[in-house]
Amino acid sequence: MKKIVAILFLGILGFFIFSGIYANDAFGSFGKVNLNDRVSNKFITKSVTNDNEIVEYNKSSNLETGSSNYVTSIVVNYRSFDTLGEVTVLFVSSLGVALLLGSFGGKLTLKYKANFILRVGAKTVFPLIALIGIYIFTHGHLTPGGGFPGGSMIASAVLLLYLSDENFRAKMSSFKLTESLMGSLYVLVGIFGLFTAGYFLSNFLNTGVVGNLFSAGIVPIVYVLVGLKVGSELTGIITDFLKEEVNE
């Protein structure tokens, strides 16, 4: 009975939300929106501080953000402060996992003995996955991807090692050190911008030619920091979760 009431209530609520959003002209229909009203328009033309210029791949140089990937230019340039915040969200979550699970539970022993092929195979793919992860976050300003997916790939490679070999233990102290160092460097890059250009996290490097590997100023640097930080944090979370369950 309780469930039926809950489902009914949810249905009514959903109806009101749905009709409240779609039954009026709150959302302009497709193609009818005036793009000049929206902030995203200037992100695409890279003309927040300057006037409109045509951006050409491999030609335009020294734009306000040199990233050819729109998403990256928003995430790590226009709204880099949010990304610093999201990095902190992950940081404090992994900290919470460590604080909660760190105190109890022994090391998890696998119920199976991984066979030879899995053990050797995992060790063979590990560097490849890690390499692709590194590629993804170093090219975040050119291609889809960036610090978060790249870092997650590295952590998934570590997970593979954990699953194939129960004697494998990631060196947590070095991961912690990476995490701490990368986070601090991100903040310090921002503070350096504050001292040199007057704005926190401002892009104080030359942004180069759109589409080159060495372009976009501090964006690739920040993405490398974020990638390594996310990788070490997720590895830490995985290591913390590899504990025997405790019944209290």
Binding site: I17, A26, F27, V48, T49, G85, T88, S93, L95
Partner: protein, 477 residues
């Protein structure tokens, strides 16, 4: 260097460093907290952009007299709370550093999505801190409700972004003026629910009793004064200044605030445990402050908010310490406790009487201001309900004080031999800070002009009846 962004990033930097420098993380926490307290007095009001991109496109921090007052009070309270319970913080130093960064971020940001990011950071630190009591079920409740709430906030924000094409507070606020407010009820309601979970407003505060009711002196004071103060300041920013609430929705929100106030006071009346009484009093105060903000009475709301967070910092520190030492916080087993701790008892009494709003205490000044404000808006019914709630509040606080001061049975001879056998020692730092805070309440009650002149004369924003956020944002647009 007077950029307010340092209030956010210096604690954050210390937090990252504290992972590597494990041994000195407590020192880093104190360094950051002291740095922030010094910094809040140097920073100049203004609009600070981040990354060099002007306001609606990049993220900006808006430091006006409202957020300046907020960062001053929250940073000072944060420092005092961690000093008072410095023996408890070692394990949680990094979490506290991150929360300090997040709290300042919430108060300063001029961007609704940036606010969401900091809200996430702060609520995750709150979930972690709430596990201190080892009552994991309550923490899990809090986690579930809090995550759902911030999810709804994000959903509402997405709808607003789809309509206005901007996330900047000032930009949205100025675009809302020429938009039919009745069409915005759904996103506004979603954002309201998201903030109301953290602000403990009525149908969304199921987590509060379990979490607050099991806190120690550190977590309790931190939650009830620093966190609650921040979320209410943010609520006042979003619903008092940025978003224009349609008159229909305003009615609904005021009723929610009133119901929270009355139900909170009534529940507090029926409780017998010290911390539970204080939780429900906090819930009631949140309802009151929220309803004042929604009514557009920013100045009285801020006064009442300060009254609540200073008083609750004292009361939760005392209550947390009592339950740590005596292993219970049942009022009946703590009879006459203050007779042996007169200084602490004095401070607790001052804060309770100030919360009721008796003359001579700061609470009287804030309560008279809010009533005058409501009269001037001819919301007589609301004022009547607030007065009714005050009577209930007075009844349970005075009953509580009598029990805590007076050894022996009610109505019988009070005798020193009836004093509770529970011994509660308060260390020097707690005594000094709690006493100093209560002196502030007394002083501000006797000379209310001190508060008014020092805090609000720099800018007319808070004295204006219904300030509009966008006109206040200087430059950058």
């Amino acid at each position: 260097m007077t950029n307010p962004v340092l209030l956010i990033v210096i604690p954050l930097l210390m937090a990252f460093l504290s992972i590597a420098l494990k041994k000195s993380k407590k020192t880093l926490l104190f360094l950051a907290a002291i740095f922030n307290v010094l910094q809040v007095f140097i920073i100049q009001n203004g609009n600070y952009i981040i990354g060099g991109f002007k306001a609606p496109y990049g993220i900006n921090l808006n430091l006006d007299s409202y957020s300046h007052l907020a960062v001053i009070s929250i940073n000072i309270l944060f420092l005092l709370v961690i000093v008072m319970s410095s023996e408890k913080i070692n394990k949680y130093s990094t979490v506290l550093l991150v929360s300090l960064a997040g709290l300042n971020g919430m108060l300063l940001t001029g961007d609704l999505f940036n606010l969401f990011v900091f809200l996430e950071i702060v609520s995750i630190t709150a979930y972690i801190l709430s596990t201190e009591s080892k009552k994991y079920k309550y923490s899990f409740n809090y986690l579930t409700l809090g995550t759902l709430g911030s999810g709804l906030y994000l959903f509402g924000l997405i709808v607003l972004y789809a309509i206005f094409g901007s996330l900047n507070m000032a930009d949205i606020s100025s675009k809302m003026v020429s938009y039919d407010a009745n069409k915005l009820i759904v996103p506004m309601m979603l954002i309201f629910v998201g903030l109301a979970v953290e602000a403990k407003l009525l149908p969304f505060n199921g987590w509060a009793k379990g979490v607050y009711g099991n806190t120690n002196s550190l977590i309790g004071a931190l939650f009830a004064s620093v966190y609650a103060g921040t979320i209410l300041f943010v609520f006042g920013r979003v619903f008092g200044q940025v978003l224009l609430v349609s008159s229909y929705l305003k009615g609904v929100l005021i009723v929610i605030g009133l119901v929270t106030l009355i139900a909170g006071e009534a529940s507090a009346f029926s409780k017998t445990k010290l911390r539970e009484i204080l939780v429900f009093s906090s819930i009631a105060q949140s309802g009151l402050v929220a309803l004042l903000f929604v009514s557009g009475l920013i100045f009285p709301a801020v006064l009442q908010l300060l009254n609540n967070i200073i008083a609750k910092a004292i009361m939760f520190t005392v209550a947390g310490r009592i339950s740590d030492e005596a292993a219970t916080d049942d009022v009946d087993s703590l009879k006459g406790l203050f007779a042996e701790n007169k200084l602490i008892g004095f401070a607790f009494t001052v804060s309770a009487l100030s919360l009721i709003g008796l003359p001579l205490f700061y609470g009287f000044y804030s309560k008279i201001n809010l009533l005058l404000g409501l009269f001037s808006k001819s919301s007589l019914l609301v004022a009547a309900f607030i007065l009714l709630a005050t009577i209930v509040e007075g009844a349970y606080f005075i009953r509580l004080l009598v029990k805590l001061w007076d050894p022996g049975e009610e109505g019988k001879e009070s005798n020193i031999k009836y004093i509770t056998d529970k011994k509660v020692e308060f260390d020097v730092s707690k005594k000094i800070i709690v006493f100093a805070l209560s002196l502030i309440i007394l002083l501000a009650g006797i000379y209310p002009s001190l508060v008014k002149d020092n805090l609000f004369n720099t800018d007319k924003l808070l004295n204006e009846d219904n300030p509009s956020y966008m006109f206040n944002l200087k430059g950058g647009m």
